[in-house]
Assembly symmetry: D2
Homo-oligomer: 355 residues x 4
Amino acid sequence: MHDPVWSCIVSTGQTWTVGVTGATGYAGGEVCRLLAGHPYLRLAGVHANSSAGRRLGELQPHLLPYADLEVQPSAPEDLAGYDVVVLALPHGESAAVAAQLSPDTLVVDCGADHRLEDPAAWTRWYGSEHAGSWPYGLPELPGQRERLAGARRIAVPGCYPTSVTLALAPALAAGLVGPDVVVVAASGTSGAGKAAKPHLLGSEVMGSVSAYGVGGVHRHTPEMVQNLSRAAGSPVTVSFTPTLVPMSRGILATCSAPLSAGTDEAAVRAVYEKAYADEPFVHLLPEGQWPTTAQVLGANTVALQVAVDPDAGRLVVVAAVDNLTKGTGGAAVQCANLALGLPETTGLPLVGVAP
Amino acid sequence: MHDPVWSCIVSTGQTWTVGVTGATGYAGGEVCRLLAGHPYLRLAGVHANSSAGRRLGELQPHLLPYADLEVQPSAPEDLAGYDVVVLALPHGESAAVAAQLSPDTLVVDCGADHRLEDPAAWTRWYGSEHAGSWPYGLPELPGQRERLAGARRIAVPGCYPTSVTLALAPALAAGLVGPDVVVVAASGTSGAGKAAKPHLLGSEVMGSVSAYGVGGVHRHTPEMVQNLSRAAGSPVTVSFTPTLVPMSRGILATCSAPLSAGTDEAAVRAVYEKAYADEPFVHLLPEGQWPTTAQVLGANTVALQVAVDPDAGRLVVVAAVDNLTKGTGGAAVQCANLALGLPETTGLPLVGVAP
Amino acid sequence: MHDPVWSCIVSTGQTWTVGVTGATGYAGGEVCRLLAGHPYLRLAGVHANSSAGRRLGELQPHLLPYADLEVQPSAPEDLAGYDVVVLALPHGESAAVAAQLSPDTLVVDCGADHRLEDPAAWTRWYGSEHAGSWPYGLPELPGQRERLAGARRIAVPGCYPTSVTLALAPALAAGLVGPDVVVVAASGTSGAGKAAKPHLLGSEVMGSVSAYGVGGVHRHTPEMVQNLSRAAGSPVTVSFTPTLVPMSRGILATCSAPLSAGTDEAAVRAVYEKAYADEPFVHLLPEGQWPTTAQVLGANTVALQVAVDPDAGRLVVVAAVDNLTKGTGGAAVQCANLALGLPETTGLPLVGVAP
Amino acid sequence: MHDPVWSCIVSTGQTWTVGVTGATGYAGGEVCRLLAGHPYLRLAGVHANSSAGRRLGELQPHLLPYADLEVQPSAPEDLAGYDVVVLALPHGESAAVAAQLSPDTLVVDCGADHRLEDPAAWTRWYGSEHAGSWPYGLPELPGQRERLAGARRIAVPGCYPTSVTLALAPALAAGLVGPDVVVVAASGTSGAGKAAKPHLLGSEVMGSVSAYGVGGVHRHTPEMVQNLSRAAGSPVTVSFTPTLVPMSRGILATCSAPLSAGTDEAAVRAVYEKAYADEPFVHLLPEGQWPTTAQVLGANTVALQVAVDPDAGRLVVVAAVDNLTKGTGGAAVQCANLALGLPETTGLPLVGVAP
């Protein structure tokens, strides 16, 4: 029987050292949290641009076992010597750092710099010159797991694209739907980062939902278009609206696309069941049960459900992920496991912290 | 200058008595709250099915000025003698009660029973025989304010249809968009009512977002289809997905439809500015500002914003309302004001309780 | 019958202009919100230190009726000409401004500058020289209402001292308890202000409770000691611990003191019932019902309950207030009503926005 | 170096089967969650009174790896055959079940039935006859770890007593404070269980704080009195007020007691540093840092801080725990580890899920 829960007891005796840069932010902190439970990857150093010299405990109070680590500077030379380097830097800052790291080092980039394959798309959305694409860290895509095995450079997907791609790629690949994709996603506030901005104050976000980046201007849009167009085998459009909801973590993506002629719910379920039958982290829920972000809180899992709306003529797929775990830090560990030849689920929580 | 803030000081000397049935629920409680600040409508009695004989304060602790009112039974004969009766009953229970109330009494129904015009639609969605439609309590629709003046039967719209209709009706009426409407709406939990169900426990909903009623099965769908088809002058489809977010009150509706050829953002803004220029409760926000549910919390206002996404070829309109105020109880008071010849804004908060 | 709900319809025909400085912060915004529903006090100008020239709507999105007001500078000369000036400035900044305003202007200070009577206490806690005390804006204290009638300078109490003083003053005045007071209060985050600090981000405060200012170092402590010692007629000590809880508004203060010999619950209830029998804003709840901050959200009310613990030998009193309404902005309006000779409840919500 | 993070890689090859009864509730669900990450304890069956025959996934959606387990009945005979049985039943129901389990089975009771040593105290607070006390599952108390090694019956402490005992026992034991203890604790709503009650609805608890069980009537009080009196070596009184705050998990206990003559903060810190120097799960934070419940969310850790208030003459200690992890389910696993001779930290998260 496939029993991912128990995979962590396979001991190889070998460990790898990991350096995390951007460790004082939310994505970097999540990587550190997961490493605390990983048997073979050992957090050996934390780095950050602006907090060098401080105790990590001041900046990440939950990382109690690592509280006394001193934050190191984050120049490329400070990152030498680790077996694995995780980059959790602002978008656009990874490429310059990565370029100076040894090709033998496994570099896992949580930023956007190496996700897009089309240099023109990068330049349109980020304004600078593209640094080139890396193997894309979504092992659940067809053929992708193989590309990540042994890789030394990996681009972790964005949190929204992870949820949206897993939600719609099977239907598009199977021709069950047409290319007019509409996505509205609710995200917890940690997705907006740790920089103190007035609209992200607790007083502002509690009891409130808001939209932002409306009208197709969110930078995760081209990544979704890339992934879904590849799945469909032809161009799709994505109308993407992110909303901010009063919780710290989690994304619920509501994704829809026009039904192809003759698509019914049984056909859809069959396609999704097949697509994710062997995936340890992707769960198509039983009929009648809908995803909640609580059920995946802090876990590397994705909960999915599908519905066909014959009146509106659309397939609706809802996906829940934790933006910091499967959406970022957990995906980074999952990809590192693959790259290093470890069981893919090693050290990754499969159960959300609920209620 | 149009100054709705000050309208409440016009004293007529006359007052009307109001009886609220279903006063122990969320919608009924909201009507009571608003009446506490209304100069001409006086809460004269509270009624409920199952709590008759108890103090209102036990069941609605926030209604401190009314805490000692005894809850009365809710048979039609118990509701006789009021100038105004507000029905805040479960869907399907209003019609039988209303049928026995005097035609001279102003009856404002917060339930669904009299909203749909098509008897077949009622029977499809609610299973019973339709009791007939009443004047629809959304004064912001063209010509609707006039129909409500002097009315003695009014059907208050559903909370989702209020937000969605105000969001898209102008664009559909002006031909700016086509009929393939997609709506994903986030709602606070009070929209699910006060019956104690496990999935509505605080422990379950805090820190979590979930979808429900997916695939076109939510009962507010035919009401949206009715309103938007009327606005468009031809049938529209609505793919509607409601989601539950961790807050008590508020709806944020993200609505989109395919752009008609040649529609740009300037054209859209011009249409919306014109549609709502004289509406005291509907605010098209300045460019760059997006609605939040916090800004309308407890207020009878709607905040709107529009965006054109040329890549995806869709217009996106986001609307924020408080589901209990403009979405239900405030709309009931607004309509009662109109029916009784009072200034429409009388007693209605225009400012949300924020932060 | 005493019917505070209806007091707002007594029209005098006269209005007063109000200028609010610090209008872009949470306390100032709350004053503006309440003025929007006040029939005689008219918001005539908004001022702030750093945002002069911007639209109020950018900074306070909920103040929709005032969105187009331009924020004015906040030097003393900018505040001339109003009938009433409300100061909602950081602690220590009010005194210098107030000193230059006309003695005929009603000045209501929401800051701490003029609350403490003992200059030494001021200097110990704030470091500067004391500017002198003003009539203390807690009309519910014995004799205080009379001192506020006709006053032209009023010091609005701190939010914590309001809740704690109303909770314990009657028991101390009646000799029911001894002087070893212990208070632990839970506050919503708006009490910490609108300045963007990392620990106040939504991501940090949602799902979390924390203590701060522990060990008697919170600046509201001397104000509580002042009020409770006066009530007791002899010195009391106050062990005060504030905690931050995941909500925007509200304070729940749990206050205890050692029972005097022979004190039982009946005696306590009798004292509190008498103390607050005629107070429109203070509600001793029926036995068995405990205060919630939700029931006073956005209202100028205080909910109280008492319990005697014979095992521990302490009286416990729990008080709920909205820190921004009765705790600050509502108290400012209440005091202005008194000072101007208006009915005390004019324009003040008596019903919380719940659920 | 003491490195609890790595303890999980010591593989013994042996595993134990665990049956959890009450697995559909919050405490039972937490035990299941933790077992999913435990290398030697294997969840072999789930039981519950009322849900027998249903899939666990319907009732505990986050337990995705166990979703297809069928819930078994919960009579004593249904619980035979496991190496370990965890009882997560309502208070008062454990004793009858436990009495019929084999003395060789390790029985860990998350209920109150076997916590109190004084039969009279049990009868006063629970009304029935006492079933006798079991070894008390708080290994951090002096000598307690030794009592738990090899035990086959263990009473897991209550969540409030865990936080309060760890907060004050060292000071009482060292004579730093006197016996008049005052505790106000904020708890997330999961502490109130999963039964659907109206006052626990999300709509009621979000944005609201309330007190309950005020006046010394909460059933955890005698357990605190027992523990703290034992620590002090003489009777203490505990004024305990629990409050409900808008989050799912976590307890923040603010505990104070009168300072003994001559106690200063340095003396207090020295005592606490010594008391918890070797404890893997108890963290005295560095000076200036205060506990938050977020930092221990889902972790088996306790965060503590101390402060001396010379004006009020009290020591204040603040403790944060997750009521379901270190407060219940994590403590159960910790105790099982000890009883079975496993490293105490095996399978227990040391890092909270933050932000």
